[in-house]
Symmetry: C2
Subunit: 382 residues, 2 copies
């Protein structure tokens, strides 16, 4: 429908802006070579399903599958009744979005879920019973002791034995975006000197609340610049030129759910009940990449230079730490990128000796914080 409505200049600017932030195919060059399509479409390859395909993360699933030449025999585009019938393009082919039902998973080897916790709770187990391996981006099963919580660069061993072709369904949980981005940088240091305590403050982008939140930030910003009152639908307060404590519900201990995910998921992923973590999660008016200020206390000494070398050699991590040029990671710079960027690596002057470090981390919330990590998990299933 919208496609047939002529857009005003502002609507077009708005949409171009969003697509560039959301990173849909229109915004980023795709290499849809015939070779790639041949490469990906293999009879022996798994059949895929993407649940929540019309959402920001769902769209990113498709981008990442394409970018990584993920092999597949077939792919089902699934979403809510509301989105059923929409068309999505994938690797040069047009697909009609189907409504998610209890019968959607017949013959599906791998199902990538990103449609919210309640959808995962209802349809995840159904898919597993049908023999699908579900990679779930929601928080529904993360703390379930029978469900591996995996960052492929950190704890791939947790999903040992779960493979496509064994005819056995399974659930694998994708950690929360803030946890993934933080641990991509903290884990290589933890392996070397053992983290005993971590104090994290986040600078979280709109994308974490979905595409509608990104659109609201753009709309609000335009309204504020024009001296109009900001429209508050997704968030209950002004987001443009402002920031606020993360909108997740606050628990009885005073932490919000987002913060406790960092605390609990870190313990599970590191398989270490003793690691002490505190976090303060803040939503900032940035589009799609999170930043985190991380203060680390180690059991063993770890000097700054060794830490920098460890991080330079860490998979999925890029070090941007140019003190002379005052050039360090920014959310904009990592947007639409796979790697998590780390900088501001320095000895913590508030700790004795070499047992403390401060670092600053940025990562694309939709990509490594969600879709990329899930697709990397799926790659381990082949």
């Amino acid at each position: 429908m919208a496609a047939f409505t002529p857009l005003t200049y502002h609507q077009r600017a708005h949409n171009d802006l969003l697509s560039s932030f959301i990173g849909t195919a229109s915004a980023r060059p795709r290499r849809f070579s015939a070779a790639r399509i041949r490469m990906s479409l293999q009879e022996s390859a798994p059949s895929l399903a993407v649940v929540g395909v019309t959402g920001a993360v769902g769209q990113e699933f498709l981008s990442v599958l394409s970018d990584r030449d993920f092999p597949y025999r077939s792919i089902k585009m699934l979403a809510s009744k509301r989105s059923a019938g929409k068309h999505v393009m994938f690797q040069g082919q047009d697909y009609v979005v189907q409504e998610l039902t209890h019968d959607s998973f017949q013959g599906v080897d791998i199902a990538l879920f990103s449609a919210g916790g309640s959808i995962s709770k209802e349809f995840g187990p159904i898919a597993v019973r049908k023999g699908s391996i579900v990679v779930d981006n929601s928080s529904a099963f993360r703390m379930d002791e029978n469900v591996p919580l995996v960052i492929p660069e950190v704890n791939p061993e947790e999903m040992a034995g779960i493979k496509v072709g064994k005819g056995k369904g399974a659930l694998i949980a994708n950690p929360n975006c803030s946890t993934i981005i933080c641990l991509m940088a903290a884990t290589p240091l933890h392996r070397h000197a053992k983290v005993v305590r971590m104090v994290v403050s986040t600078y979280q982008a709109a994308s974490g609340a979905g595409a509608a939140a990104m659109e609201e930030l753009v709309l609000q910003t335009r309204e504020v610049l024009e001296g109009k009152p900001p429209t508050c639908n997704i968030f209950k307060q002004q987001y443009a030129f402002n920031l606020f404590s993360h909108n997740a519900p606050v628990l009885s201990n005073g932490y919000n759910e987002e913060e406790m995910k960092l605390v609990k998921e870190t313990r599970k992923i590191w398989n270490n009940k003793d690691v002490k973590v505190t976090a303060t999660c803040i939503r900032v008016p940035v589009m799609r990449a999170h930043a985190e200020s991380v203060n680390l206390q180690f059991e063993e000494p770890l000097d700054e230079e060794t830490a920098r070398e460890i991080l330079k050699n860490a998979p999925g991590v890029v070090v941007i730490d140019d003190r002379a040029a005052n050039r360090f990671p920014t959310p904009l710079e990592v947007s639409n990128k796979d790697d998590v960027a780390v900088g501001r690596i320095r000895r913590d002057v508030s700790q004795d000796g070499d047992t403390g470090l401060d670092i600053f981390v940025c990562g694309d919330q939709i990509r490594k914080g969600a879709a990329l990590n899930a697709v990397q998990i799926a790659e381990l299933l082949l």
Copy 2:
């Protein structure tokens, strides 16, 4: 000149927006009653000088002097040669800005400086020799052991004996904005349970880099929304919908100057060389109020409820901590306000017992972070 140029709608929206952020008289209601003017203009009152009157902080000096009915016999509006001849309105009267010279301080009792470190270094001592008491908002003299570094709610005793009318000049330094905002909340808790270590992550507004930086943020944001490349004059990278490590120079220990101000100024203001502080300072796309995530370690136990009561009773502090409504301090809410807002008050789950707290603080960078604190210091001189 600009006043005679007809403004486009966008220019007007832009200017209204800026003035509302910068908080000039046009944006905030002033009570210019004859009574007030009578009250302020007293023969026995001090003669004032405002150095850097055309800057964001200089303008705020005038707003605060007016809001607080600061008594004065006369007031000199001083600025660089470039700004000399401009007109400023103050308490219903029109003043012509004079060029700052070595002779500017003849007969001046109190001089409020906010024109940068080099101007303070050159003209501060000259003013003192003329018998003026200089309240300096720059970093020029903050760490000089002979210069009191004062937050009136925290360490007024440091300026004991310095009074107008004794015919003796003196220098008093205004702490850095991030330090003032942090210590307004941390000090009442420190007095009760003694802070041994503090981990601070800041979310700093454009105003810290001056009015031109605020204008650049507005301009860049408009450009990005219109799909144009952002203009980068003040900052060397995109600020709109982005954030970056504070632009202060990075020192050999890897901390930038802004961060080390928090470390060193805290020790001086608390007169405690042992307090351990680390900070990570980040510039976020917010206009004029800073936010800070502060993790505190205490020597003595301090439970959450006691901390909340202490902060509720602290002068210049307001507690906004509604967990059920997820309502906590925001930069927008404290903009143009005197009080520093504190919320997210909770026991730190990463520390044993009741010796750790996390708090989130917001304060107006131009007001309590600069102009208000300086005028409060001046009030102590009377």
